[in-house]
């Protein structure tokens, strides 16, 4: 097998890499023995491979390693923070979900059934165990003895807890229980709502006139 210079140049890179078959290798070696130009090309190609394959060729810029190390440390810390934050957020979300579920479960009291009066304001924050009074055809519940309770003379108000009254669709009286309305009703004639202590005192006074309790 005889090869030309052009064939040698086409295959010289594969020859350097050991990627030519035995027959071609032998033919090329025979060619190099008698061809000065191709030998020069072969030597030069080998030198290129050797020089560029040397680790000393590229110098790192001054401070490269320090800057790289700093960035890796920052990234690692930030990554750790992100993971920790994710875990915390997951825990907080789970807690909130559980707490929310429990609150919803317990707040069945405050789920508003259909109110007996379309104009009534729904209750807000009324103590569930507060004893209240309602009349048969009334739409609101009162502190027992409230003078604004509309009842027939011979009628005894029905006593129940605020929770039961709410469940049955009664709304708080806008006078004796106004602090438990979800939106205050401003009545120009009414005075500002009394503090809780005052309410309790007035309730105590009112109960003395309340037939059902006497």
């Amino acid at each position: 097998m005889v090869v030309s210079c052009e064939h040698v140049w086409d295959e010289i890179s594969n020859y350097v890499d050991g990627e030519v078959d035995t027959a071609l290798r032998a033919a090329m070696e025979e060619h190099f023995k008698g061809c000065k130009h191709c030998t020069a090309v072969l030597d030069g190609t080998r030198n290129v491979v050797q020089l560029y394959g040397d680790d000393r060729l590229f110098e790192l810029p001054a401070g490269f390693s320090q800057r790289l190390r700093r960035r890796i440390v920052q990234e690692a810390s930030w990554s750790g923070f992100r993971s920790a934050r994710s875990l915390w957020m997951l825990a907080v979300a789970a807690t909130a979900l559980i707490a929310g579920g429990l609150a919803l479960g317990n707040s069945a009291l405050f789920r508003q059934p259909d109110l007996r009066s379309a104009l009534a304001k729904p209750p807000h924050g009324v103590p569930a165990s507060l004893m209240v009074a309602v009349c048969g055809d009334g739409k609101v519940f009162h502190v027992p003895g409230c003078k604004y309770m509309h009842k027939h003379d011979d009628e005894n108000p029905r006593m129940m807890t605020a929770a039961e009254a709410v469940r049955e669709g009664y709304a708080p009286c806008v006078r004796c229980l106004r602090q438990y309305l979800s939106a205050r009703i401003e009545c120009p004639r009414s005075s500002p709502p009394p503090p809780l202590v005052a309410v309790q005192l007035s309730v105590r006074n009112a109960t003395s006139n309340f037939k059902g309790l006497n």
Binding site: A40, V41, R56, L57, R71
Partner: protein, 223 residues
């Protein structure tokens, strides 16, 4: 019935301590000890930088791309399955990062050498200067390193990329083809051209011109 004697071929492979250390570091970094990542990439800093530099041809851009590539490797370290060498994986990420930046910046307006000849045609060497020996200390000299870098920068990028991956990063033909998304045949053709072009650019200098002018060498001493 005759019994076939089965020879047990026990191959004892030499365990490279550096490789063992790399595997251990990899395991720990993948396990969450990310602060150890620098120790893992430290042996490849120069390779990563040189890959980025060879593509971008600018120190600042190369450093930026190299660091970004290393941080991307850190972010995706969980995806490294050990199918390839860690250094190869790192190099591929770096090459992708550098290529992406080059495309984004459109920094290459002129490609001085390489486009003059078609890839399919044969490459004819332009110079047959005799370049048989490389002085062993050649790479210790900064100006020689600069000449080599400048010569490589003159290659058009399609040749330079293959050359960098094969002859500087020492990737195999398959790995190079995969990293660049080209065929094995293209890798071989481009590599041949890159090597011959560099030889054309460097042979006259290494053949004598660069070294003959140096003072204090044999035969050129002033006394």
């Amino acid at each position: 019935m005759g019994t076939l004697a089965r020879k047990t071929d026990i191959r004892v492979e030499a365990v490279d301590p550096a490789q063992l250390r790399e595997q251990e570091l990899l395991r720990r970094v993948q396990g969450g000890e990310k602060q150890l990542f620098y120790e893992l990439v430290k042996p490849y800093e120069r390779r990563v930088y040189s890959a980025a530099f060879a593509i971008l041809r600018n120190e600042a851009d190369a450093e930026d791309a190299a660091q970004e590539a290393i941080l991307k490797a850190l972010t995706h370290i969980g995806q490294f399955r050990g199918d390839a060498r860690f250094s190869t994986w790192l190099t591929q990420i770096t090459v992708n990062e550098a290529l992406m930046r080059r495309r984004r910046d459109h920094s290459e307006v002129m490609e001085p050498i390489g486009d003059r000849q078609e890839e399919d045609g044969s490459y004819t060497p332009r110079d047959f200067a005799d370049w048989r020996e490389i002085p062993s200390e050649a790479l210790e000299r900064k100006e020689i390193r600069q000449k080599l870098a400048a010569a490589m920068a003159m290659l058009t990028h399609k040749y330079r990329e293959v050359f960098v991956l094969r002859d500087i990063q020492h990737l195999s033909i398959e790995e190079t083809a995969k990293a660049l998304g080209i065929s094995r045949a293209s890798v071989k053709t481009r590599l041949l051209r890159a090597r011959l072009m560099l030889r054309d650019l460097l042979a006259p200098g290494f053949g004598g011109a660069w070294f003959a002018r140096l003072p204090f060498e044999k035969g050129s001493k002033p006394w």
